[in-house]
């Protein structure tokens, strides 16, 4: 038995990012696939006409080559083999990281959502910094939050002497910073404070007297006049601020029309500059110091040096505690329909979300369950069964159809398209094959709806007719297992269904296979979703005027039902395949 742990089993979902679908050069996708989302059946579409041909005006032969390539691309993505390529790993995510846009009715991944900043806060004191003062404080906390120069942990403010009952209240004496992890304190660099609050302000006075800062101020004064006349227009942060096309062209025009001549003339106006303050040049002294080092402890490490970017000293004694960087809270938006998917609360202490459209609440959650007495880890050539469990988060029952791509005799296109000439060699990615055979015993099944009473259900009383005549769940003995093979559904209860999948790995290494999951459910406009907020009263009014009578909120309006359907790919990994042990 091999002792190596190997990669663990996983189920990753594939996000077909819509931004990239317009680029037909992209080997990952083709517009054919996006239109397939609402189809009921999945055929192996190997005979699609090359309508995804490029718009480029190339010669006939290269165009034909391009058509062949597109054909390959379509075939690969039609059969799911594109999921096995190394490129696809950028678009595969576990369910916990995916969002779902209700309007577009599609999965969104972290790459295809747009981030916007909601608020800035300090991770230590949880003080929310108003956006206006963020820039002036250089994105750092303006209060007493500092970072230890040695270990980068938060420093705490400590009084030099203990507060004794006899002395004045509120600990006397100078204050200094101290680190609880590495026991550094600021007395080692002679940094003490009079008051325990607004330490940043007290530090600022010493920072201003540094020769570097004074020199920079002088330089700025000298160049200020010049800068005001000559500043090149920077791009605005958002083009949405332009009220009309006239304003836009004015901004772009002033930038384009400045020719080099006028710029040269303006530069010459600048007078000679003499440095007012002499910044001491310590380099030679530094070299001497470094050469006479006895132990390397006094030299700062890279990460310590990077915390103080403006001078990055070698000596550890020159590194000062820096103020702590602010963190942000982000809200995420779907790029196509601009609908907000995630919106956190403004307050730094609050961890909840105002809007939370996560994929977990919309698409079935797939998990892998190991059957007892089955070989694990997988062994080459030995058929192994395991269970895939589909959990339905919706309030309606859903039907799920699964499909896996077939093994092909040789890597490359199918041979059914007669019009193709000699195939050019395909790019390396499409050599990826599923390393074995995968059999789904029941590719079509239903999963029950979710309701709150499921939380209180006892596991003792199974529902669903499939459990009849079977021993306790999990299959006690071969008798119980054989009955579950009849329809392939291992267990159907509450809001989840488990099905049996059999794999025969044929090669060593990590075993992964793609799976196309299509599900459809009767959507009822009146019903609330797990993640949405309250239903808007206005929305219900507008929906349909045919049915005049308005019943209670929970009524089913059958004339409004639409069968909503969605399909997505996922990649299921089952870990390492080891060599078969001889029994």
């Amino acid at each position: 038995m091999s002792t190596a742990v190997g990669p663990p089993p996983f189920v990753h979902y594939y996000c077909a990012c819509p931004d990239l679908s317009n680029n037909t050069q992209d080997p990952r996708r083709s517009p054919e696939i996006t239109s397939k989302k609402d189809t009921e059946s999945l055929d192996e579409k190997t005979t699609t006409t090359p309508t995804t041909s490029t718009t480029s005006q190339t010669s006939q032969s290269t165009q034909h080559q391009q058509q062949q390539k597109d054909q390959a691309n379509i075939d690969a993505s039609a059969t799911g083999r594109h999921l096995l390529s190394t490129q696809a790993s950028n678009y595969l995510y576990p369910l916990s990281r995916l969002y779902f846009c209700e309007d577009c009715h599609q999965i969104r991944c972290p790459s295809c959502v747009q981030d916007e900043i909601v608020s800035y806060y300090c991770p230590n004191c949880l003080f929310e910094v108003p956006t206006a003062s963020v820039k002036s404080e250089k994105n750092r906390c303006a209060r007493n939050c500092f970072q230890c120069p040695i270990c980068q942990n938060t420093l705490s403010v400590v009084a030099a002497q203990e507060a004794t009952p006899s002395s004045t209240p509120a600990s006397a004496g100078p204050y200094f910073l101290s680190c609880n992890v590495c026991r550094w304190n600021s007395k080692e660099i002679d940094m003490t404070f009079e008051k325990p609050t607004s330490l940043a302000l007290q530090l600022q006075k010493t920072e201003e007297t540094l020769p570097d800062a004074k020199e920079f101020d002088n330089l700025k004064d000298h160049l200020e006049k010049h800068l005001r006349l000559n500043v090149p227009p920077t791009l605005p942060t958002s083009f949405l601020s332009f009220s009309s096309s006239g304003a836009f062209s004015k901004m772009m025009g002033s930038h384009l029309h400045q020719d080099n001549q006028s710029q040269q003339g303006k530069l010459d106006d600048l007078g000679a500059y003499e440095p007012a303050v002499h910044v001491p040049d310590d380099d030679s002294k530094l070299v001497d110091q470094l050469m006479s080092l006895r132990s390397v402890d006094q030299v700062s490490t890279l990460s310590q040096r990077f915390s103080q970017l403006h001078d990055q000293p070698y000596q550890l004694s020159h590194i000062h505690p820096q103020r702590i960087h602010l963190c942000i809270k982000r809200s995420k938006r779907c790029r196509t329909c601009r609908h907000i998917l995630i919106k956190p609360e403004q307050k730094a202490q609050a961890t909840r979300f105002k809007i939370k459209l996560v994929a977990m609440n919309y698409i079935p959650n797939i998990s892998i369950v190991k059957l007892p007495r089955k070989t694990w880890p997988l062994q080459q050539g030995i058929p192994t069964q395991f269970v895939l469990k589909f959990t339905n988060p919706l309030y309606e029952e859903m039907n799920i159809t699964l499909a896996t791509p077939q093994m092909q005799k040789k890597a490359g296109l199918a041979n059914t398209n007669d019009n193709e000439q000699q195939q050019p060699p395909l790019p390396q990615e499409y050599e990826a094959q599923i390393r074995g055979k995968v059999t789904l015993l029941s590719p079509h099944f239903t999963v029950g709806a979710y309701n709150e009473t499921i939380e209180y259900d006892d596991e003792m009383y199974p529902t669903g007719s499939n459990m009849r005549g079977r021993s306790a769940f999990g299959g006690g003995g071969s008798g119980g297992l054989s009955s579950s093979w009849v329809n392939g559904v291992h267990e159907k209860r509450n809001n989840y269904t488990s099905i049996i999948v059999e794999v025969i790995p044929e090669q060593m290494g990590e075993f992964q296979f793609p799976l196309l999951v299509t599900y459809n459910y009767k959507s009822d406009e009146d019903r609330m979703d797990v993640s949405s907020g309250d239903i808007d009263e206005e929305d219900i009014e507008d929906v349909d005027a045919d049915d005049g009578s308005r019943k209670a909120n929970s009524s089913m309006r059958l004339d409004d039902d639409r069968i909503k359907s969605y399909s997505f790919w996922c990649l299921i990994g089952l870990g390492q395949v080891t060599r078969a042990e001889s029994i």
Binding site: A160, E162, S178, C182, W184, K187
Partner: protein, 172 residues
């Protein structure tokens, strides 16, 4: 296997659920939380005064020579202590490991989840910290540490007997 011979000084608080094995001498005022284990397998263990030994601590003496622990130390939860000589006023933080025949001086701090080498001497005022068990010297003892330790001991001596049965051991 040496017979069980456990002695404790006056004022020591030793809870019933502790596991003491071998020849152990516990100083005055020391507090042993429940679920700690002191195993003097091959050689004796001498523990000094006013130490605090918290839950799930394992103090193990695999060597024939005695393991001497000084005064005013704190052994936080789940730490593992072998070593040969531990000084005074040290703090061995949670899940730390003092391995082999290591010697620890005074006023040291072995940080959380850090470990020492199997046989080294840790000098006074050393702080072992960080994920890579880096070392540095602390320039001075934390000003309130001594007072905090005394208050901690007072609190434990008052509260532990309320919720735990205590072992009665013969005086040293």
């Amino acid at each position: 296997m040496s017979r069980n011979r456990i002695t404790a000084g006056p004022g020591a608080v030793i809870c019933q659920e502790t596991y003491l094995d071998g020849e152990i001498s516990i100083g005055a005022g020391t507090v042993l939380h429940p679920q700690c284990r002191i195993i003097a397998e091959k050689g004796p263990i001498y523990i000094g005064k006013n130490n605090i030994i918290e839950e799930n601590v394992i103090i193990f003496n695999k060597n024939a020579s005695p393991l001497v622990i000084g005064d005013e130390n704190v052994f936080e939860v789940s730490c593992y202590v072998e070593g040969s000589h531990i000084g005074n006023n040290n703090i061995v933080e949670a899940r730390a490991k003092v391995l082999g025949t290591t010697t620890i001086g005074h006023h040291c701090i072995i940080g959380a989840a850090c470990a020492t080498e199997v046989n080294e001497t840790i000098s006074d005022m050393t702080v072992v910290y960080g994920s890579k068990s880096s070392r540095r010297q602390q320039s001075e003892v934390f000003p309130t540490q001594a007072a905090l330790h005394a208050r901690h001991l007072d609190y434990l001596r008052e509260v532990l007997p309320k919720y735990n049965h205590l072992k009665k051991l013969e005086n040293a």
